[in-house]
């Protein structure tokens, strides 16, 4: 007697399926084109990462970490972590993961920052976009794999697409917050001197929102890395695939190694982008 009445049933799943079918039938050309463009970008970035000698990358990361964190020890630690990945034998896979992450971050920023600005400028946009962002972040990340797979087939491009959806909310949110936080007095002063809305945006609001946007970039990057690993399930090669294979074959050692490499990558990216964000914040305060 505790059955939920059938007549109240909403066949949402069916509708979504039908919608996806409709999209596929009518817009496959569009998605093929987008997919192709993304693929070319991805392949070039990946080729670049694989072309640069490993020691150049290690050196670059070491110096970058040293410069942004103002501590040479941090530079050494970061360089060593990257070396370890190579020592485990995962250099190539790590570079593929890094390439996909980088691509996803670039696209996320290109999409996310303008949306964040738009959201900050319009209260209506904020009311509409905010719940969408909430949904995007709470939805289990695996769910994104299915439409990505349907639209772009197997491989890197659906991986990029799924990563984009999962990773873009933080940068949108923090761009919005950053711009809205700019003090009214400062904006009023710019207006009083005859600044146009465009000048106010570029001269005052965006520069003052940079620290917040940097925090958003840091979070987006971390989420992109996490999702890239999951995206290996639909054929995006890289460290994630190793973990997946290890699970399938119950190879604990292999899984641990690959997992550790992902952790190292995460630490390196997080520390560097985080240091950049705090540096921006301090730059504004001093």
């Amino acid at each position: 007697m505790n059955e939920f009445p059938l007549f109240l049933n909403i066949p949402l799943a069916e509708w979504v399926d039908r919608f996806m079918d409709w999209v596929l039938v009518n817009f496959s050309v569009v998605f093929d084109t987008i997919g192709h463009v993304f693929l070319i970008m991805l392949l070039n970035i990946e080729r670049f990462f694989l072309w640069v000698p490993w020691w150049v990358i290690v050196l670059f990361v070491g110096v970058l970490a040293w410069r942004v964190m103002q501590k040479w020890t941090m530079g050494v630690v970061m360089a060593l972590l990257l070396m370890l990945i190579g020592s485990f034998g995962y250099w190539k896979l790590a570079m593929m993961t890094l390439a996909l992450t980088t691509s996803a971050v670039v696209v996320s920023l290109a999409v996310g920052i303008p949306i964040g600005i738009f959201m900050a400028k319009s209260d209506l946009a904020e009311t509409i976009i905010r719940p969408v962002l909430d949904a995007m972040q709470t939805m289990p990340s695996f769910v994104y794999l299915i439409p990505a797979l349907m639209l772009f087939g197997l491989g890197k491009v659906p991986g990029l697409f799924a990563t984009l959806i999962y990773a873009v909310p933080p940068v949108i949110r923090l761009t919005n917050v950053g711009i809205r936080q700019v003090s009214k007095d400062t904006i009023e002063a710019a207006r009083a001197f005859g600044a146009s809305p465009r000048q106010i945006l570029f001269d005052v609001q965006i520069p003052l929102a940079i620290p917040s946007i940097m925090v958003g970039i840091n979070q987006t990057t971390m989420m992109a890395l996490a999702m890239v690993v999951i995206a290996s399930m639909i054929g995006a090669r890289g460290l994630g695939l190793e973990v997946l294979l290890a699970i399938n074959r119950i190879e604990v050692g292999r899984g641990f190694e690959a997992g550790l490499c992902i952790v190292f990558l995460a630490i390196i990216i997080d520390r560097i982008t985080n240091a950049l964000a705090t540096k921006q914040q301090k730059g504004l305060e001093s």
Partner: protein, 411 residues
């Protein structure tokens, strides 16, 4: 008491505000069209939820005038000054600058107006924290599209004008409050505006710095001769700086006048209460309290004629002035005059009191106290050309201190 809202007709009018209203809220137009608009701020708020911020304000300001708008917080003064460059839109009325109604400007024309005609200084400075002092000061010209070299040169000039040389490459956060406001003033001066709008620029500063900045502003105004609209809640500041003062209450201007008028004839209880604490000693000037002596001595008169004059007016002194231009020559006292006549001394030299006290018409009472304390005879008021314009009895200094007020604060 009737008062004149408008600047001296003989001077060129720079800004003229007529029947200006501002009501915050959705029913603004409705309220304006109904009799509700005559009701008090509180009544309107209660009945409609809207806030009457500026109520039928009219005034005009002459070119080069220092016009102060004074009121307590919530009196609408900050709203009013923002309406003058449309940072806040008016509900109704007109604001004419050089004869053009800025409320009719298009967005583009308005931006142009803000870029060229007005410069504003804010209570909380409103500086750009991500820019150096130099780039902050150059911002007005940058918005206008002036080339980098030119705008930095002009900014440098303005920075030197406000005494911040050497601080160009610091960020505002490295500066003290007073210095930050100098940056704010420099930023407004850089664009060489016709009208300088200042919204409580010194309220956030500690008293010592505030006084210093006020003095510097007076000095600066002497040099640049801008039309200044200055908002403050501080009566002393208003009296010190303003050529004329408008006192606002509940969105209305309740009195406009020169500082002396406001102090000596407050228009209602509100203003009276406001000026209660103001020391007349800081406001009233020698010119304002001086009298004309009953008789003067002229340089061609002989000692006998002089003695006759003194006897006629029953005084023991009289000022001697020149034939042309009433130039003050000296103070003849009865005692010395008698001595001259008895001893056949030389006249008028020997009849003069040595070092008679004199003062200028614009000296405030406070500065007369030390002179008055030393003086045995009335103080002569002499203008900048050396002309005798009046005399001040020592007693009248103290009378004028107490006359206009029920309580003397003794400040």
């Amino acid at each position: 008491m009737a008062y004149n809202n408008h600047a001296d007709q003989t001077e060129e009018i720079c800004l003229e505000v007529n029947g200006l209203w501002k009501i915050f809220g959705k029913k603004a137009q409705e309220i304006l069209k109904s009799d509700l608009r005559f009701e008090s701020k509180e009544a309107i708020l209660e009945k409609t939820g809207n806030v009457m911020a500026v109520k039928n304000v009219s005034f005009s300001v002459a070119r080069g005038e220092f016009f102060v708008i004074m009121g307590l917080s919530g009196s609408g003064k900050s709203t009013l000054i923002r309406m003058l460059l449309r940072l806040i839109d008016s509900t109704s009325g007109s604001i004419c600058v050089n004869g053009e109604d800025i409320l009719k400007y298009s967005k583009k024309r308005l931006m142009d107006f803000r870029r060229h005609t007005t410069g504003m200084v804010f209570q909380y400075f409103g500086l750009f924290p991500h820019r150096t002092v130099l780039d902050n000061v150059a911002y007005g010209l940058e918005v206008r599209g002036v080339s980098k070299a030119e705008r930095l040169a002009k900014a440098q000039e303005a920075i030197e004008t406000v005494g911040l040389k050497g601080w160009e490459n610091y960020h505002p956060s490295a500066l003290s409050g007073g210095m930050q406001q100098r940056v704010g003033i420099a930023r407004a001066l850089t664009i060489d505006p016709e009208i300088l709008l200042m919204d409580e620029p010194f309220s956030g500063l500690d008293p010592l710095i505030r006084r210093e900045m006020q003095d510097e502003l007076i000095e600066l105004q002497d040099r640049v001769q801008k039309t200044i609209i200055f908002v403050t809640h501080d009566l002393h500041e208003a009296l010190k700086l303003g050529d004329r003062i408008a006192i606002m209450r509940d969105g209305k201007i309740v009195q406009i006048g020169v500082p002396e008028d406001v102090i000596t004839s407050p228009v209602d209880d509100y203003v009276r209460e406001f000026v209660q604490d103001a020391s007349p000693a800081k406001v009233l000037t020698a010119g304002g309290i001086m009298d004309q002596p009953e008789a003067l001595l002229y340089e061609w008169q002989g000692p006998k004629a002089a003695l006759r004059t003194l006897r006629d007016i029953k005084e023991d002194y009289a000022f001697m002035v020149s034939r042309n231009h009433r130039r003050l020559i000296g103070l003849v006292t009865l005692k010395r005059l008698k001595a001259v006549i008895q001893n056949n001394g030389s006249f008028p030299e020997d009849a003069f009191e040595p070092d008679p006290p004199t003062t200028a018409p614009d000296v405030i009472l406070e500065d007369l106290f030390p002179i008055a304390a030393e003086a045995d005879y009335p103080i002569a008021v002499v203008d900048e050309d050396g002309r005798f314009v009046g005399e001040i009895q020592i007693s009248s200094i103290f009378e004028s201190m107490t006359q206009n007020k029920e309580v003397d604060t003794g400040e």
